[in-house]
């Protein structure tokens, strides 16, 4: 607005000024982000490999056709979706509960707030290491608790075929809860108290007040946070890399871990880039579904 009026006042000079302000950030973005992204898409149509002596060649859609038949990749994709939904949904419900509690006048809430910072500030690698210590079959606190409660000898959580994925999902839920809680709490704090009081006077119960007053107020933030969490979780790497390295037997091999191995262990750059493209396509679908849901919500 001001720039528009300023432009009208000073003529062309301001426009050049604006470009001068934008370029220092725009050039690195184009060179190191947009450029590599397009380059990456192009690579997906080549046979680019690490340490190849002969020149890289265009091979059309061959990588994608190979991907179609790569059952390991589709298995990692299925695991990626399970992980993304498995983390995002419980995380949202727990974060909503915590946000509602932190919005009350409770005595311990400063402690919960302070603690909620920890998972957020920690390096993902440390979160992974920390939970490996918790899950450690002999020296970990989880098995000791299981033994104390008389529930058996405990188990090797991260290397058990059945327990590995649920175990890493639990860590994912823990690690991402703070951001979600803070976002929801902000939504709650923007809700006028008068509405709650009016609803309470009308005799509405807690659930009814939540449904008619609280939820409509935080719905936009809740949807945005959920969409972002789904995408971030689908793309996550460090946490599971440290916890299980993708094992046992590929049970926790997320798409990013698969593509990383393909590119930087086996040197298949073109093929890994094709995997990246498929992931982008899926994420675009997720975004589209989310936007559609949001538009529909706007009509109500």
């Amino acid at each position: 607005m001001t720039l528009a009026t300023a432009t009208a006042r000073t003529g062309k000079r301001t426009d050049h000024g604006a470009w001068f302000l934008v370029l220092p950030a725009l050039i690195p973005i184009l060179v190191l982000s947009v450029g590599p992204l397009l380059y990456g898409i192009a690579l997906a149509f080549t046979d680019s490999q690490a340490g190849r002596t002969e020149p890289t060649e265009w091979i059309g859609t061959l990588n994608f056709r190979d991907l179609l038949h790569d059952t390991l990749f589709w298995e990692s994709f299925r695991i990626g979706l399970l992980w993304a939904v498995g983390v995002t949904v419980p995380q949202f419900l727990l974060a909503l509960g915590l946000a509602l509690l932190l919005n009350q006048q409770l005595r311990m809430r400063w402690l919960a707030r302070a603690l909620a910072i920890i998972p957020w500030a920690m390096p993902e690698v440390v979160v992974g290491i920390m939970w490996r210590l918790v899950y450690n079959p002999d020296a970990g606190i989880l098995n000791e608790t299981v033994r104390d409660l008389g529930l058996g000898d405990g188990r090797d959580w991260l290397t058990g075929l059945a327990t590995a994925l649920p175990a890493v999902i639990a860590v994912g839920v823990w690690a991402g809860m703070p951001q979600t809680t803070v976002a929801l709490l902000a939504g709650l704090q923007n809700t006028p108290h008068e509405l709650h009081e009016a609803a309470a006077l009308d005799g509405a119960g807690a659930w009814r007040r939540f449904r008619t007053v609280t939820w409509p107020a935080i719905r936009p933030i809740a949807l945005a946070v959920t969409a972002l969490n789904l995408i971030w979780n689908f793309n996550s790497f460090a946490l599971v890399y440290v916890l299980t390295g993708g094992g046992p037997g590929g049970r926790t091999r997320l798409p990013m871990l698969f593509a990383y191995e393909e590119a930087f262990r086996y040197g298949q750059f073109g093929y890994a880039a094709a995997m990246g493209c498929v992931m982008v396509a899926v994420i675009s679908v997720m975004l589209a579904v989310f936007l559609a849901g949001r538009l529909k919500g706007g009509d109500q």
Partner: protein
């Protein structure tokens, strides 16, 4: 006031729930600390205890002996500081234009900020790896810093746009009426009001770079160049058999800087995020 219920039993339920959350949030961290201070004998015990009977600093000593932790911390510090400084220096002017100007460029930038959150990094890292290799910047902190700057830009822009919008337009207009030019207005009126937001953004960019793992793992090959998170994974060993004590000690140390910085700026980050989210 209460959204969950009002009766006395409802309140008791709320405290029980809050207690559960506190335990859930705290117990892994407390376990990390406990493990870091336990002597080897207690770590080998089949019935681990919460509180070490003979707390020791041996694990910390051993951690520094086993891996080049100081060097790694130095690398992390250099990379994170450089990335944070460069990021805010180039992001602040752009954020200013994005906040005050509505045209196709700013719309495209905002779109990019949103979309870039959705990239699978693998699609970007392969070409970056090839480009940096051709420039002989693989295994250099310089190459890593370049990547970190661009990688932290979306969120830095997001936060800064929020801070700029929080500066009342009237102040700038008043300066313009007094005959100050655009640049003059920017430096003497807007910048001082933005300073706290810029500092918060820089600190956030610092933490993100300090904690980053994927790019560092791919781009840094030799131990003397690697950053702290990458060096931490060396404690895990080839077969995942880890020396628990030193592992816990090193992990605990690596967290302290982020925890301290984060505790300082926590309110501002959430404030900046929300300003960006609510007003855009």
């Amino acid at each position: 006031m209460a959204a969950l219920g009002t009766g006395r039993s409802a309140r008791a339920g709320q405290y029980v729930a809050l207690l559960c959350y506190v335990v859930f949030l705290a117990f892994p961290f407390l376990w990390l600390i406990s493990t870091a201070f336990k002597p080897a004998r207690e770590l080998a015990s089949l019935h681990p205890t919460w509180i070490p009977e003979n707390a020791t600093l041996d694990n910390f000593r051993q951690a520094f002996d086993e891996q080049p932790l100081l060097q790694a911390a130095g690398n992390s510090l250099v990379a994170a500081l450089a990335a944070a400084l460069i990021a805010v220096v180039i992001a602040t002017p752009m954020a200013y234009v994005m906040a005050r100007n509505r045209n196709r460029l700013t719309a495209a930038s905002t779109g990019w900020v949103v979309v870039s959150q959705a990239f699978p990094f693998v699609l970007v890292i392969i070409p970056l790896f090839l480009i940096l290799k051709n420039l002989h910047l693989i295994n250099t902190l310089f190459g890593l810093v370049m990547v970190y700057v661009v990688w932290s830009l979306p969120f830095a822009l997001w936060m800064l746009v929020g801070y700029v919008r929080a500066v009342p337009l009237e102040l700038e207009e008043a300066a313009a009426v007094d005959g100050a030019g655009r640049l003059r207005t920017l430096i003497s009126v807007t910048a001082p009001l933005l300073a706290p937001g810029i500092v918060a953004t820089a600190l956030f960019a610092f933490i993100t770079a300090w904690n980053e793992f994927f790019f560092a793992l791919v781009l840094l090959k030799t131990p003397e160049k690697q950053t702290l998170p990458v060096v931490l994974t060396h404690f895990l060993g080839a077969e995942g058999v880890a020396d628990l004590g030193p592992l816990a000690a090193a992990a605990f140390l690596a967290t302290l800087p982020s925890l301290v910085v984060f505790a300082v700026i926590q309110k501002r980050i959430t404030g900046g995020m929300l300003a960006g989210a609510v007003k855009s």
